[in-house]
Amino acid sequence: MKKEHIQHLYWRAGFGINPKAMQSLLDKSRKSVVDLLFYESSNYIPLKIDTPEFDTLTFEEFNETKKIHRAYIEKSKLKVKELNHEWIHKMSFSNETLREKMTLFWANHFVCQDRFILYIQKFNNTLRQNALGNFKDFVKAISKEPTMIDYLDLKQNRKNKPNENFARELFELFTLGVGNYSENDIKESAKAFTGYNYNFEGDFVFNEKQHNYDFKHVFDKAGRYDGDDIIDIVLEQKQCARFICTKLYSYFVNSTLNQAHIEDMTDVFYSDYHIETVLKYMFTQDWFYSPEHIGTKIKSPVELIVGMSQIVPVTFKETEQVLGIQKMLGQILLYPPNVAGWKGGKNWIDSNTLMLRLKLPSALLSDGKIDTKVKGDFYDSFSKYYENRKGNTKIKASIDWDVFKTNYEEVEIEDLNNYLLQSPINKGTLNYLNRLSKTSKLDYCVQLMSIPEYQMC
């Protein structure tokens, strides 16, 4: 498989790949490279942080007094931040590249937020566990997660007073998309999801007393449906497969949609709703590697952060800083803006986020400095700009340049851009880069990571 194509595959299905790791893939066929990618992700290793104060906690202890309850909630909120930090770390260093990428994808599909650590951690692992599995099982599992039950008010959805929130988002965001259901379908489906609850341990509890056992009229069918039945009925519609495949195409291929290719994916996915099958299909098509797709996607903030670690491993030391960076870039994991999640693409970019994106590599890797020496210069004429800085809070992280040196050892400095950048370089920028002195591979690495082209994948 061609180098450019391997890099493309690994950028879309993961967070990038270094030249050393790529070496053994170069003489393999596309099919075996893709198979290997799935094989590496066949293991499911949950994300777990230490939560000693919650592990044996009982409902009674949790709610002993209002004050104690509040204290636990505050502790839990800190733990959720820690989970965010660990998740970033896991994505950066896990061997299950594809599974982690898909977990990230699904987290922006089944969007949830929770301040109780055990439930949000459980939810996150349900995403991870089902990331490559069967979509039908996945939706059903999600509808029974305590975090989802809370987030979309399923607890408030009672026999005599239905709450439509979950039913609406199930159709609009999770399965069919806007315009493919009626208000009546929502009202009737809400009745089917009555009685959904969970116990303190986070296990799903079906409250028969609160369930509405009446007939429900949904999508031209009628029956005494429960929630799982509704999900079965929704997935019978090809529109559901089409909706998911459109989202996959838009995320992994191009936000400019090709309906013919999406329709082909839809046919594959609709046959058994197996996620792995449709992904494999997508990653092995010729059109997936078409030049119009390579290097044309704007990295999400998380892809940017995690992607940097594939080049120079970065281990953040302070949770607040990891969250702070994500906040400024416009994407804090576990804290979505709303139930529709992040829009992505150009929406990541505005004056603030762009400046931070361009500064982030140097802030992490070279104390904020980007070398501007051109050939023949003895010193950097702009060093004054950096001397005058004061009071900058440094990001506390350990940076492993040795890994970079080993992995990029065989790469000539003049060739480095072909490994760090997915997008062709603008002519004017290339002229500028060519004038730089390029005496240090490390400096040049930071320079390349600081141009807009590095924001693309």
Binding site: D153, N163, G330, V339, N426, G428, T429
Partner: protein, 396 residues
């Protein structure tokens, strides 16, 4: 030299020479000049419950629909013996008494969408209910009538669709000094200087470069101009007030930005609505009070129009969780020093004649309000931006 030309030349000059004293003189000229109209848009995100914001306290239907969350007459601020403001909105009553507040009821659009995201997009893009637009109405205003990204500023870390145009975006700015400093990095300046392309906005990479170049020039202008004014008004401690304070700083320093966009979030009150709603309205009203005072202190209030909207109202009937679900038509506030029809603009729609979803029926299309503001306040052709004609109202 006419005013437009003057401003154009001045901002060019200031970005070239960067002489603070010149900027200072420039800003004084603009603020002393009357007639430089500015629009401030405030979004109450999540769907503000209009019926508990402006309460029809003589209507039995209201109390029947809301047995536990209906607001009692005694707690309300009486406006006209029919409608009462929520007790948190005392500062708005003061504005109302001075003729600085117009309340427009039953604002919505045909076939309302009850999804936050869709409804927000509809309001921000000024589309029909079944129409998907990729640009916001302020973004199109920039595209057609104002060729600078700093003509529209959102006081946030990220930019809403409302301010995204086809060729031009507004800017998201929370901290002008920080943004300016970042743009002064020598390497990044070199990169942006060397960029070559005649088709800047056509692909994602071009979009990044264009944003970089625009940011660099605007950040300097905004920073140099806005630092000439600092407010002496006390604002409440809240992120929303901070947005308003920065807005007032921008306006009072004479920044030639035409549109500001701020937001207050959390109005999605499905459960336990009463306390939450009370707190949010207080944050809104107290912030507005300080903001208006700040503008008045530099005599810029009369040239400022403040529009407050929410993506939808809420269901007339309360739900089982002492909250309300997503509804449709809603009440909209217009605040300004130069209103033609202050007070309650139109009667609240019936609470007995609801649509088949149990929501209030809309009377005024929200785009007629946009059309009014575009035509009569920003003095541009509204039809170009809204893509169809709307009969303007007469509140300004």
């Amino acid at each position: 030299m006419d005013r437009r030309k003057f401003i154009k030349n001045s901002s060019l000059a200031s970005s070239l020479f960067l002489v603070p004293s010149f900027v200072n003189a420039f800003s004084q000229m603009v603020t002393s000049e009357t007639g430089y109209k500015r629009l401030v848009i405030i979004q109450l995100s999540g769907g503000n419950d209009g019926l508990n914001t402006l309460v029809p306290f003589r209507n039995d239907d209201y109390y029947r629909a809301r047995p536990t969350i209906g607001l009692k007459k005694e707690g309300l601020i009486n406006l006209d013996n029919e409608l009462g403001l929520h007790s948190s909105l005392r500062p708005l009553k003061d504005l109302y008494d001075q003729g600085y507040l117009t309340i427009i009821n039953n604002v919505g659009y045909p076939n309302p969408n009850r999804s936050h995201f869709r409804a927000t997009d509809i309001w921000q893009t000024a589309s029909d209910s079944n129409q998907y637009l990729q640009t916001g109405w302020i973004g199109r205003y920039l595209d057609h009538f104002n060729q600078k990204p700093d003509a529209a500023i959102e006081l946030d870390e990220s930019l809403s669709l409302a301010l995204k145009g086809d060729k031009l975006n507004g800017m998201a700015i929370k901290n002008p000094a920080l943004l300016y400093k970042t743009t002064q990095d020598p390497y990044l300046k070199n990169v942006s200087k060397h960029y070559q392309d005649n088709h800047l906005n056509e692909h994602n990479l071009g979009y990044l470069y264009k944003t970089l170049i625009d940011t660099k020039s605007s950040a300097r202008y905004i920073y140099e101009t806005s630092k000439t004014y600092s407010s002496s008004i006390d604002y409440p401690k809240h992120d929303f007030s901070k947005q308003l304070k920065t807005t007032a700083q921008f306006i009072n320093s004479g920044l030639n930005t035409k549109v500001y966009y701020a937001s207050l979030t959390g109005f999605d009150t499905h459960i336990y609505q009463l306390n939450k709603h009370k707190r949010l309205l207080k944050v809104y009203a107290d912030g507005m009070k300080a903001f208006v005072k700040d503008l008045q202190s530099k005599d810029s209030f009369k040239d400022t129009l403040i529009l407050t909207f929410s993506e939808f109202g809420r269901r007339v009937n309360q739900n089982s969780g002492n909250g309300t679900d997503h509804g449709s038509a809603n009440t909209l506030f217009v605040i300004g020093g130069d209103l033609k029809k202050p007070g309650v603009y139109n009667n609240l729609a019936s609470l007995s004649d609801l649509d088949n979803n149990g929501d209030m029926k809309f009377e005024i299309d929200f785009r007629t309000i946009y059309a009014t503001v575009l035509k009569k306040w920003l003095h541009v052709n509204d039809q170009v931006i809204l893509n169809k004609p709307f009969e303007p109202l007469d509140f300004i």
